[in-house]
Amino acid sequence: MLSIEGVSSGYGKILAVKDVNLLVEEGEIVVLLGANGAGKSTLLRTISGAMKPKSGSIIFKGQRIDGKKPHLIVKEGVVQVEEGRGILSRMSVKENLDMGAYLRSDKDGIMKDLERVFQKFPRLKERLNQNAGTLSGGEQQMLAIGRAMMANPKLLLMDEPSLGLSPNFVELIIRAIREFRDQDGYTILLVEQNAKKALDIADRGYILETGRIVLEGTAQDLLNNEELQRAYLGRDAKTRED
């Protein structure tokens, strides 16, 4: 569904993503792991068209999308839940959800998707007319994800959706992501710090280190990989203790 071939991308002269090859098949959850500053967000921003790749190509459903403007890529069905949530804090919850459906005009479909969002995150319905900036971190993440659902995505790019959330909210978000694949038919490329939890629901994974893919495999293989356990999964265990 998404095929990234030899993509390099960066800021000014500095390359933050170097010659990356990555594949996401339809119906998969693919997780992208890596330390802070490894280039995960840069890669997602490049897929979404916020940055132009310096080289390589990005192909979605058989069509090249690299170099296209972000709104045209959204139109193709590639929707990103950005790092830090990207809530429009001066708008109400309802307006944020409406913005999710910005490119759509199918009123019935929009209404149906709004109901789906409320079903998944009932809390948003209670807060509908509240200013989005006043929501808690967890609620904002629900809003960011709900807003992405309103765009009727085919491929959902999620940049650290569980970052900074309490364990309950992390569970909720992780469950929502699994349901997206199993029930809603979304394909998902997920960036996560929470490696164990992400690999538990993922089909396959890639490890990014200073801009390069250094390891890839099925989620099961990665979970069992000793080196990885030391580097990422160990740290997870530690954060859960405190």
Binding site: V79, E82, R90, M91, M99
Partner: protein
């Protein structure tokens, strides 16, 4: 009773400031750019209005929208050719470019209209209303009324329409707006068009109010608009609306309260600006500027 007429004058003057400041603040909101040439767009609007009336004799209610369309297009041209192509990485470059546009527009105007004052035709027949001891001229009422109406329309546009919502999204974050499917470049362009149309309307209203227009009139209004934008809070549209009225009233009161041979109005206005910068840099109503 003179005070009452002054109050109306203050509101009238203030409402034109509001129109200018709204444009400034809209553009500052979406681009973080001080659009220096905004005053010259007002000036261009005043001259366009003048010639539409002179040549065609069209009434104000047609002249005004025509002028707004013309200056709106001027705004699009300025954005497309003088601002969009400039890399945002160089902080001062867009600002310098708009200063360049200022000089170009001003000198074009001098070349075409001459560097002296031109009498603005009477777009409406002035009536003086008397309510007992109160006298109010229809000019000031009309100008105030038109300005308030334009502000209400703009408010509705920004609050309720899809494009207005997209403008607010772009003002919060270009990145997020793009990820939501907003064509950010187009929205920025539209913002320039809307802001410039309002400046054009302000130009015509200023022409009616002051009867004389010059190629240099832009600077005063640009600076007053700037004061109002700071007063209302950067990027805050409602703040700009209220801030304009406050400044207009303050200026007129200064004339009434401190009678003086020399005109202290501007001392007052820019004194206010410095005080705001020192004590309340976020403005009276809070800033709303994009985190790009």
């Amino acid at each position: 009773m003179i005070l009452f007429q002054q109050l109306i004058n203050g509101l009238m003057l203030g409402a034109t400031y509001s129109l200018v400041a709204i444009g400034y603040t809209l553009i500052f909101g979406v681009l973080g750019l001080l659009h220096f040439a905004h005053g010259e767009v007002l000036m261009a609007g005043a001259f366009m209005g003048l010639y539409i009336i002179l040549w065609s004799g069209l009434p104000l209610y047609i002249t005004l929208p025509l002028t707004m369309i013309a200056t709106g297009i001027l705004g699009l041209i300025v954005q497309f050719f003088a601002i969009r192509p400039i890399k945002k990485d160089y902080h001062l470059a867009p600002l310098l470019s708009t200063i360049g546009v200022t000089i170009i527009l001003q000198h074009l105007a001098i070349k075409i209209f001459g560097g002296y004052g031109t009498r603005f035709p009477d777009a409406i027949s002035t009536k003086i209303y008397k309510f007992g001891a109160l006298t109010i001229s229809s000019d000031s009422l009309l100008i105030f009324g038109i300005a308030v109406m334009l502000m209400l329309v703009l408010y509705f546009f920004i609050a309720k329409t899809k494009v207005g919502r997209a403008m607010r999204a772009v003002a919060e974050s270009h990145l997020t707006a793009g990820f939501l499917g907003v064509n950010v470049d187009r929205i920025v362009l539209i913002t320039f068009g809307v802001a410039s149309a309002l400046a054009g309307a302000a130009g015509v209203l200023v022409g009616i109010a002051f009867h004389t227009i010059t190629p240099f009139m832009g600077l005063t209004f640009a600076l007053k608009g700037l004061v109002v934008m700071l007063l209302g809070g950067l990027g805050n549209v409602v703040g700009a609306m209220i801030g304009g009225l406050i400044l207009g009233l303050a200026e007129v009161s200064s004339v009434v309260l401190i009678p003086s041979e020399i005109n202290l109005q501007d001392v007052f206005a820019f004194g206010i600006m410095i005080l705001i910068l020192i004590f309340k840099p976020e403005g009276l109503f809070g800033t709303r500027v994009s985190k790009r």
